[in-house]
Point group: C2
Chain length 452, copies 2
Amino acid sequence: MSQNPQFSGLLTDLYELTMAAGYRKAGFDARATFELFVRGLPPRRNYLVAAGLAQAIEYLERVHFSADEIEYLRRHPVFAGIGEDFFDFLAHFKFTGDIWAVPEGTVTFPDEPIVRVTGPIAEAQIVETYLLSAIHFQTLIASKAARVVTAARGRRVVEFGTRRAHGPEAGVLAARAAFIGGCSGTSNVAAGHRFGIPVFGTQAHSWIMAFEDEKEAFRRFLDIFPKNAVLLLDTYDVRAAVETILAMGRKPRGVRLDSGDVAEASVWIRRRLDEAGWNDVEIFASGDLDEDRIEAMLAAGARIDSFGVGTALTTSSDAPSLSVIYKLVEVETGGTVRNAAKFSAAKVTYPGKKQIFRRQDGQGKFTEDIIALEDESVSRAGPLLELVMRAGRSVAPPTDLGTAQQRCLEQVARLPDAVRGLAACPAYPVRHSERLVELLDEVRRRVERAAR
Amino acid sequence: MSQNPQFSGLLTDLYELTMAAGYRKAGFDARATFELFVRGLPPRRNYLVAAGLAQAIEYLERVHFSADEIEYLRRHPVFAGIGEDFFDFLAHFKFTGDIWAVPEGTVTFPDEPIVRVTGPIAEAQIVETYLLSAIHFQTLIASKAARVVTAARGRRVVEFGTRRAHGPEAGVLAARAAFIGGCSGTSNVAAGHRFGIPVFGTQAHSWIMAFEDEKEAFRRFLDIFPKNAVLLLDTYDVRAAVETILAMGRKPRGVRLDSGDVAEASVWIRRRLDEAGWNDVEIFASGDLDEDRIEAMLAAGARIDSFGVGTALTTSSDAPSLSVIYKLVEVETGGTVRNAAKFSAAKVTYPGKKQIFRRQDGQGKFTEDIIALEDESVSRAGPLLELVMRAGRSVAPPTDLGTAQQRCLEQVARLPDAVRGLAACPAYPVRHSERLVELLDEVRRRVERAAR
């Protein structure tokens, strides 16, 4: 329990290891390509913001199996009789493949490969679960954050949701992803330390409740943080709290509302503060906010300078998962390349190594994406996937979070208006190239022949 | 990035540190009690299953601030001028408080303290965020798992959802919580290694797609895992796959269905397997399952032996968060005890150190919970909160996961039938003792007097 398991090869589903053992044992010495993509959008999501690549790459560079972990696997009944080769393989395990990916902060759509992995099939299989998990979660949260930031129309949004994220580490990663999606910062100090994200904070109800009365609690806080005190108004009664602060005559940096009819209260508070000449005292709002509530509050004339958004953002509460998958698209054995596809009743995946090409109009607005084979050239369209890892070594500079956020904000601004909006809209046009459609048919015919 | 940040004191919201600095600076040398509880149930949840305590206790025993982390805080503008005392305090930081908690696997309800923390106020404040995050997430997932296990009516449920959990670490914790909630195991190997949970796995579509044809893929897998092969049927065509396996005449341990009309397919498959005398070949089902789909499949006569439940379980998809909070209930300074409460318009919290008392009828069925002050005695009712940490040291044996699961299953069985069911029902009776109600009034009057 005490060792740091963050780069453990065991962070995977058992079947990945079983299949890896099987490929080894079968002497199936193939080089495989898998693509990681999202199958469809949740209701009311019109686009995705890719994130989590830095954590995926860091894992791929460092993943390994400790002696203790290999001992553990030896004792699992499924590996009884698998032989020493597999355990030797794990003891020396390194990921040696190539990775193509869209940079973090890139706007993407369903079916578009966010990450493409090519490597020895056993390696590419073992890392599947971690890659899905790392890319899925941050993409989920960055995509939600972009909506919340859109709703705030230029006002500051700070991620406040660590306490209800899915565990402490999810809180740190959510802060990172929310920043990529356009948030100004987080309340999570570890995220600030690890990733250089701006960290914000005010005071909790407990500070107010800890002292004899509210006035005493405010006074003490102003004494200690004369320049940074943001006073919480709703422990007992909001208007009384505002009058207490005004009567003290000491200007805080800001005030925070965490419950009640925040829009209405903010209008009254702004007026009272302005009457006192405190035009520069900021009003923060928090408390079960999401993009819909922010939109509604602003539509109702709320006078709010900053929003603290918690649970809805760090859990993507209206859509807490994406249908992300990792599919085999090509197998190369002994110089022969075979394309792979899946076409059970409900679910089709396209074969072949792909690239995303994006078109734009004269104003720079995005108009259409074409998913094509990587060696196709698509007119008037730029490719989105970049080589970020070659033979297990990172070849791209580490993600700069400011750049990733800028990329996200710029790309969101270039989306068609309806796609950028909060309401569900007809899908942004994404199509597969003719060569891809032909290739899918070809694979289907091959598999049908084999089944006869 | 490379150091293990899992016990970092920075895993908190900035305002916790700001308030801690404030309490120190103000010389506010109080001993505070906070209670962690859930404010209300999400729709269609009738009860909660407490989980995550072991991770909370481990953190409390080991939390600290590294020199590098303290250096980071020094550079944050909010701490400019706070003085050396605070940084010294952090450099020597240890949690020295007492913890009362319900054992993991305990069925609980809204307003009932799951964890109660008493300690120096600055310490108890700093650990708030981590405690909320650790207890919240596993309680959320254990509570969801209990529903899924109820729906499966005695069939095995295995947690399969790491890939869409909220990051790799959330996947490991979800597996632990799902086991407490009654799942038989997980696909997550790290969870098996760290927590001793049984680990299960089959094969993925990629195995089938990697080989020339399906028959070759099945044959190879049976060669390598003669006793443990669970063959995946739906890569191309389910019935064709079953006929291929039957024609090979080699009995797998099981078969898995991951898409399509699983209930209908399972009936047909069971008949074909039985006709071949393969009555002991198990049928596994997976693919976007949740408690409702499992209930519907079984109602439709599905012949399924094991369910693999993924995303819906590891994200608690229909309710991805609980309204968990951590509220100050008592402050002791210089020998004086003051009870604390909050009663803004929307949200009331009760003051005082509490205990949960549970009543049962002659058959052992739970009938009513009473939340009372810890020193009250409640007739015909047993207390649920236990002392698990004294002065910063664990005094309870570590959670045994088998025991926790047993506790959960037994307690769920003792719930009133409607409460145990999947449909929303009138709330299980939970009330506050008369003394608590009086104490709340008393605090309210005191605060109102002070505000005049």
